[in-house]
């Protein structure tokens, strides 16, 4: 009987005009398009320069900035006011002001009259632009002290950064495990719940309930195809990441599957919960959308959990996607083992046991 229940679910899945194609297109799209689209690398920052010094040194500093590739020099302005107008008109993202006497003062080591103004209407873009500019200035100062043997001004502080696990700060590499996380969640939580709700809507679930088939067997058979698809998508994504970008998982791929399995259990329970409390697809869709947005924004996928305020960080502790995303990134980028990220497994297991219990209880009652 189980075989037949499963056969029916697969038949319906493959007979659906959209679903099988979606299952194929989803990982491809996710791996080939999104890593570029969701990149947080900021390029082409429009730079306005007010150079009142016009010395050899000031030109060297500006060259350092423009040669980094992140900035596009839009204008050499005569006055700070002119530069400000450009920024107000959204034509410049950053302004570097070099006061007269820059050359002599740096040579003497008495000061460093350079001002940086950054447009932070888009906070991320602004702060990254400011950081880049500071880096350029640092590099200019280092160059100067090395090549010219001149005394460096701010030599007292030497910041050198070394990035571990993603040394080139490649955003695509960073995003790939996270994209997998989002995809798996969609497939394992939201598709089955829509499927169950649609059986409710069409009344077929009623017809099933008068047969001797137990409710649990029916539901598990409903979910299994999506689990199969989830593992298929995971495998496909890993293969595409390897074939197209040359990324490989640092850790044991097995752990990726283990954490995916844990996540699937949690998500299956969530999907069942949603379907228990919704009577039609419209309600279910809204609840799904609500959870999807919260999960993604509160998971640390786009913005680090560590930089959230305390209360927001407390909320993320209830978000299964936070643990799953953390685990997937840790295994994929750092090669962590479950011994290192046991807390992610613990988080998923804790949320999972509550959700599964609640889902089963409400499912029993929902009839």
């Amino acid at each position: 009987m189980w075989k037949y229940l499963l056969e029916k679910e697969f038949k319906q899945f493959f007979r659906d005009p959209g679903l099988p194609r979606m299952a194929l297109a989803f990982p491809v799209l996710m791996m080939l398009v999104f890593p570029f689209a969701v990149s947080m690398e900021i390029r082409n920052i429009n730079l306005a320069v007010v150079d009142s010094d016009r010395s050899e040194e000031s030109v060297r500093l500006l060259e350092k900035c423009t040669s980094s590739g992140y900035f596009r020099l839009v204008s050499l302005c005569g006055s700070p006011e002119e530069a400000m107008r450009l920024m107000d008109g959204n034509k410049a993202d950053a302004i570097v002001t070099i006061s007269s006497g820059f050359g002599t003062e740096t040579a003497l080591g008495t000061g460093f009259p350079v001002g940086i103004k950054v447009n932070t209407v888009n906070g991320t873009r602004g702060s990254i632009a400011a950081q880049y500019l500071q880096n350029c200035v640092m590099m200019y100062l280092q160059d100067r002290s090395q090549h010219d043997g001149l005394p460096a001004v701010s030599q007292t502080v030497d910041i050198s950064e070394k990035y571990y696990f993603n040394s080139l700060l490649d955003y695509k590499l960073f995003m790939i495990p996270a994209l997998i996380v989002m995809g798996i969640t969609m497939i394992t939580a939201f598709l089955p719940s829509l499927n169950i709700v649609s059986e409710k809507e069409s009344g077929t679930i009623e017809q099933m309930n008068v047969t001797p088939v137990s409710k649990s067997a029916f539901i598990i058979c409903k979910m299994i195809p999506y689990w199969v698809i989830a593992f298929f998508v995971l495998t496909a994504c890993l293969l595409i990441a390897w074939a197209v970008f040359g990324y490989v998982c640092r850790g044991n791929v097995l752990w990726l599957y283990l954490y995916t399995f844990l996540d699937i259990v949690v998500m299956a329970a969530l999907g069942l919960l949603i379907s228990n409390y919704s009577n039609n697809a419209q309600q279910a869709m809204f609840v799904i959308w609500f959870f999807a947005v919260i999960f993604i924004l509160m998971s640390g996928i786009f913005t680090p959990v560590a930089s959230m305020p305390d209360w927001a960080r407390a909320i993320t502790c209830l978000n299964p996607m936070r643990y799953y995303a953390d685990a997937m990134r840790a295994v994929y980028l750092k090669g962590s083992t479950p011994a290192d990220i046991w807390y992610d497994a613990a988080g998923l297991a804790a949320i999972g046991s509550v959700m599964v219990g609640w889902a089963i209880a409400s499912y029993r009652k929902s009839l």
Binding site: R15, D16, T204, E206, Q207, M208, V210, T211
Partner: protein, 302 residues
């Protein structure tokens, strides 16, 4: 032994009392009709008897099995066809039938004789998806699926709603054959004209049973005589009839009005005379024998 015995079933949805103290006995091997208008509580009663819903109070047995405690065993021996077509529209006719046979641990081939007569009519479309069938075909398929495991009791919730007149007649012929094969058929319908096809029936209104018996018994219980009145201005005529002394009740019935009167107080001639006096000289009045609908109207307004 009675196939279905229910006692004191009540069910409320919030403040709405859907069923109030329903008790019924259905004999084995009969077609038992539950007749009542929309919203009378027919579907709620079906859902309780088919173990889909729990009653607030009361108990019931189907084939000796309790509808709450023995629901698992009970599901093996009943067939249920809900009012709405609820088979898988994206599976073919054959797949639906195979599917439901398998769920009951049997095969279509083992029970082919049971459904042959009905299934043979849709067999030419065996590979068509259920969603693409016509209404009558869907209904036949649903009936096949409900019969494929040889149930002892067949529950049919408004099987003829939305079906054309010819298909409805065919359907009742099929039900009679199913009954003749020994299956108890419990069927609900809002159509009073179908009541005569049942062996026994119960009239239900606003969650209460207002009468049970064979169609003849129910009609015999009608204590008045009945006139069929036809005229040109039907609505004023209806109001006038209701005012006429001796007339107990009057309802519009197709293209005429059925007026029940007490024979000891008035008569056909007297009513005709009073109608003429009120300016309805052009109506025709005929004695007629009461049908189930007349009984229903009387019982529900008593």
């Amino acid at each position: 032994m009675d196939a279905i015995v229910i006692e004191g079933i009540s069910k409320s949805y919030g403040d709405v009392r859907a069923l109030q103290d329903i008790s019924l006995q259905v004999g084995s091997g009969e077609i038992f009709g539950l007749i009542g208008p929309d919203g009378a509580g027919k579907t709620s009663l079906f859902r309780i008897m088919t173990t889909l819903m729990l009653a607030d109070s009361g108990s019931g047995k189907v084939c000796g099995l309790d509808i709450v405690k023995d629901c698992r065993q009970l599901r093996r021996i009943i067939g249920y066809m809900p009012g709405r077509f609820s088979l898988y529209q994206d599976l073919t006719v054959r797949e639906n039938l195979d599917y439901f046979a398998t769920l009951f641990g049997t095969t279509v081939r083992d029970n082919y004789s049971n459904i042959k007569e009905i299934y043979s009519q849709i067999e030419p479309f065996a590979d068509r998806r259920a969603g693409k069938l016509s209404g009558g075909m869907k209904q036949k398929l649903a009936l096949c699926c409900a019969l494929v495991h040889r149930p002892s009791v067949l529950f049919l919730d408004e099987p003829t709603t939305g079906v054309d007149a010819v298909s409805r007649r065919d359907f009742w012929t099929m039900l009679a054959r199913i009954r003749d094969a020994g299956v108890t058929v419990f069927v609900s319908t809002p159509y009073m004209d179908e009541a005569a096809m049942c062996d026994r029936l119960a009239l239900i209104r606003d969650g209460s049973i207002i009468g049970t018996g064979t169609p003849d018994e129910i009609i015999a219980g009608f204590p008045f005589r009945l006139l069929s009145v036809r005229g040109r201005r039907m609505y004023p005529l209806l109001k006038e009839l209701r005012k006429t002394p001796g007339i107990v009740s009057c309802f519009s019935f197709g293209d005429s009005h059925h007026a029940a009167y007490r024979p000891e107080e008035t008569g056909k001639e007297k009513i005709l005379a009073s109608l003429s006096a009120a300016g309805f000289g052009d109506c025709t009045v005929m004695e007629t024998s009461p049908g189930i609908e007349d009984c229903f109207m009387w019982l529900s307004h008593r």
